[in-house]
Amino acid sequence: MRHVRALYLVVSASFMLGRAEPAAALNLNALRSSIFKIQIVADEPSLTEPWKRLPSSHSSGTGFYIGDGRILTNAHVVANASFVTVLRDGDAAPIAARVRFIGHDCDLAVLEAVEPAGIKAIAKLEAMTFGSLPKLRSPVSTIGFPMGGDQLSITEGIVSRISYHRYIHHGNARHLLVQVDSAINPGNSGGPVVQGRQVIGVAFQTYTQAQSTGYIIPTPVVRRFLLDIGNGRYEGHPGDGLTTTDGALLNHSTAAFYGLNPDGGGVTVAHVNAWAPTSELVKPGDILLAIDGQPIGIDGKVSYSGERVDFRTIFDLKLMGDKAHFSLMRDGQPRTVDVPIKPSLPHHSTDLIYAKHPRYFVYAGLVFTVLSRNFLQTWGERWYREAPLLLRYLDNNAMYLQDFAANQDIIVLAKRLPDNVNAYIPNHVHRVLRSVDDQPISSMEALVAAFSQGTGEFVTIQFFGNLDQIVLDRSKAVARNAIINKTYGVEPDRWLKGATDDGAMHGSDGEGSH
């Protein structure tokens, strides 16, 4: 049934192509020499036994040439890739490629040939050029290989919305996004969306609950990505770390309390995360009135290229080293602050992880790993209601809770590998670690140190919201570690690298991933 449906979509697209203006057909012929089908073999890490890899999977997507031997595609097309090939439309031989840069937050990646001359040697290869943010109601064409087909397909649609919205590849990350009323199907991902011969976006996700609703990454986000990698590494979008109450100043008495004119604009700051670059300069209770001179409306939106979008759009598009200029009201007094854009401090994030392995440590058969959206998704599609309440609550709210706000990691006991040394411990699987030997643990590194540096006869492990601690005989635990790890094939016994160690970076020099 699925196969039949795919055919229907391809046929429909061909029909539309046949009806297109001659100029459009000419454009496709000119453009197709820059379009690549990307095929990958991916292997993801296991979340419950994080030293393992899951069985390989095969998938495909689309990419397009942007010059200098580079192909632009979606990060999700090549995430966790162990083998990548690219095949220009109309050519016969795929070329082995590697991921040169990948930005999981903005769902973009740059590929290069494994052999230095590989892609550049392709005949009549022309770099596609980028246009600007499209206008609402303007027509666009999406080019790619939907449903894994070998024939290039073009679908036409209309720009229906420009907003600051969720990029699902990264979990909760939000960026500028354009909605089009044409279908974007699996395999379209990474393909160019054009107006005339200019790329105005990259096709990347769809809304499955509605017909013919596709989303594209607009050029401001693409340009930011390309600028970001200009120094040879990708640093990523900045985190604003702000929780605001949009709409509160609609209330005239609230506006009067803050000394503001009724219906004047602005949003109130409820919380500032300690890990964010804003934390030193913006405070809870501040009223944000403008960013970079753009007035922030009562709804939290600013004018951007003629559209009203969330004020965070302006902050989000900045590069490391830039500044965000805020006008705000504090304690009844207007002031301005220049927030330096810099990487966030390490912290628990609701983003999905695309590291080679999740951070973990195995001690005495106890598998500790970090709470992540990926880990929650092991509860299935309805993880948001079926995962343990504590885990799903902390994932979203740890930043507000005194016990966890400063944590680099929220550590979960993912599994017990049964052994005599841990046979009688309470069943605390899926509980959240609080402390070891009553010393609070805020990171996986601190956990490793607590286990390795402790000297008492016993190791005691305390969990959040539970009064029944785990007690282990330290000398027995140490003695059994190697045996347990060998029995269960735990190798290595720890992974302490962060999200910068990406499985997709095979064959590269290790630089440039986010």
């Binding site: 929780t243 109450t245 709409g247 509160a248 100043l249 609609l250 209330n251 005239h252 008495s253 609230t254 009067a256 309390f257 803050y258 109130t268 409820a270 919380h271 809870p284 209770g285 009562i298 209601r385 079926e386 309440l389 504590l390 799903r392 609550y393 979203n396 709210n397 507000y400 809770l401 009688y424 411990i425 309470p426 006869e457 016993f458 005691t460 959040f464 919201g465 009064l467 029944d468 601690q469 785990i470 007690v471 282990l472 005989d473």
Partner: protein, 496 residues
């Protein structure tokens, strides 16, 4: 033809056990139909009620002339009727006594003649495992149907109407639709009342609990079922036993926490090992031996006590044996900040400028349906599960904003709902009374009075000027049809 039918009936009677035929007839004189009209508070609009519903339960006649049924039958009841089998006459009854903690209630007809001709039940003894019992449900206005079941388990679980840990029978049955206070009989004697059904298992209040309840009620001053106010954990790990000095003792459970209101507060410490309760030894799993049922949770021992009883514990503290003794307190499910149940009286609430504030309760969360523990608002569920410790102050409650009655006065905040209140005008809020007091102390700024309400955990705020509050609330009372007295906050000078 008539003769053939009569012969068949005669044969059928002959094939029935004589004792059963006789006892079924007798039970219809001992069992009473209980018709309850219920009206639950609308938890989202606490100034009004849900639609009334009628539910039918059963009860049994006691020698005192009262009718014993489960508290399930009278939760949120506004009118109760009794009806004898074999008559069409119904009569009003009053709830003479109810203990929601153990799910039992006593009813009395307003006209004692209603029960004339009935017989009082005889109380039986504890069931043994696999005992076959008769479960009696109403077939029609004249007859009871006998269903059979067998005892599969006796376990300590939360009572159907409270959070009290109470022994309960699990009776294996083949039929559905039970759990409406059907009486359970064995050899002509009452041995339990059904309290609910989970697939093929009928839960029932055991006769031991019924006896305890009736004895207690018979005495002057009901003392109720007690608790220790101490969290005890199994002590299986040899390493834990060594750590806390329990290596050389048999059995015992670890004191994990002594609650703020416990009578043992000054007597027990974390990591003490309780090895015996009274004279009964506790296993390392926290179980005790029952002569008939085998291993059962130690809370069973507490079920046998009354509030006010002295309880002696044998304790080992870091290898040293000691005995402690304290007077037990009656258990109260609502002695926690998140209210467990509220079956009677109005739902406490306060409306300020259209912001509806209530005490967080399990009843509120149960509005999300049978999966409420999964799909309810996670802030509220987290609070119930992880921030619901007994505090020294009995009146401590979790106060939250249920919703906002949209009005120009609260423009900008109309979409707020299910938000935990942290502070009001800088004062920590732990009760509705405290909320009212905090609102009485508004912030003054440039000659204007303001209320500043801060929510947890994220710290967002509502700031409303008090100017125009009374007019706005009068408007809301009309728009939303809310009684003008009792629900709305009134500034001190305007209070009657």
């Amino acid at each position: 033809m008539r003769i053939r039918l009569a012969v068949c009936l005669l044969l059928a009677l002959l094939y029935q056990p004589a004792a059963l035929a006789a006892s079924a007839e007798r039970y219809e004189e001992q069992v009473i139909r209980v018709h309850a009209t219920k009206r639950e508070i609308d938890r989202s609009s606490p100034w009004q009620s849900e639609d009334t519903v009628q539910q039918d339960f059963l009860g049994v006649v006691l020698p005192s002339g009262a009718v014993l049924t489960t508290a399930n039958a009278v939760t949120n009841a506004i009118y109760v009727e009794l009806q004898r089998f074999g008559t069409t006459a119904r009569g009003e009854a009053v709830v003479a006594f109810v203990d929601y903690e153990v799910n039992l209630a006593l009813l009395k007809p307003t006209n004692a003649a209603l029960l004339s001709g009935t017989k009082a039940v005889t109380l039986g003894d504890d069931l043994a495992m696999d005992d076959s019992v008769g479960i009696y449900k109403a077939r029609d206005a004249y007859h009871l149907s006998r269903l059979s079941g067998s005892l599969q388990e006796v376990a300590v679980i939360s009572a159907a109407t409270s959070s009290y840990g109470l022994i309960s029978y699990a009776i294996k049955v083949q039929q559905n639709g039970l759990g409406w206070s059907e009486p359970l009989f064995l050899q002509g004697k009452l041995i339990g009342l059904s309290s609910g059904q989970d697939q093929n298992f009928l839960q029932a209040v055991p006769i031991a609990v019924i006896r305890h309840f009736l004895n207690d009620h018979h005495d002057a001053g009901y003392r109720g079922f007690p608790a220790m106010g101490v969290q005890l954990e199994p002590l299986l790990s040899p390493d834990t036993r060594r750590l806390i000095g329990a290596k050389n003792i048999a059995g015992g459970v670890r004191v994990a926490e002594v609650q703020a209101n416990s009578p043992f507060t000054a007597l027990l410490r974390t990591n003490d090992v309780v090895v015996a309760m009274g004279n009964v030894a506790l296993s390392e799993e926290g179980l005790v031996n029952h002569a008939t049922w085998g291993k059962i949770h130690l809370k069973y021992l507490l079920n046998q006590h009354y509030g006010g009883d002295e309880l002696k514990l044998k304790v080992v503290r870091q290898g040293t044996e000691l005995t402690v003794q304290a007077r037990l307190q009656r258990f109260d499910s609502n002695r926690v900040p998140v209210v467990s149940y509220r079956y009677e009286g109005p739902e406490p609430h306060l409306i300020f400028g259209g912001l509806v504030f209530q005490e967080l309760s399990q009843d509120y969360l149960k509005q999300w349906g049978k999966d409420w523990r999964e799909v309810g608002p996670s802030d509220l569920l987290f609070t119930m599960n992880f921030a619901n410790k007994v505090t020294a102050q009995k009146s401590t409650r979790v106060i939250f904003l249920t919703r906002v009655l949209a009005d120009p006065f609260n423009r900008g905040y109309t979409e707020l709902r299910n938000r935990l209140v942290d502070t009001v005008n800088g004062h920590k809020i732990t009760s509705l009374a405290g909320l009212r007091e905090a609102l009485d102390k508004p912030l003054q700024l440039q000659g204007q009075a303001y209320a500043r309400i801060k929510f947890a955990p994220e710290g967002s705020e509502v700031i409303l000027g008090l100017s125009g509050l009374e007019a706005a609330q009068a408007r809301m009372a009309r728009t939303y049809e809310i009684p003008t007295t009792g629900s709305f906050y009134q500034i001190p000078g305007a209070r009657p």
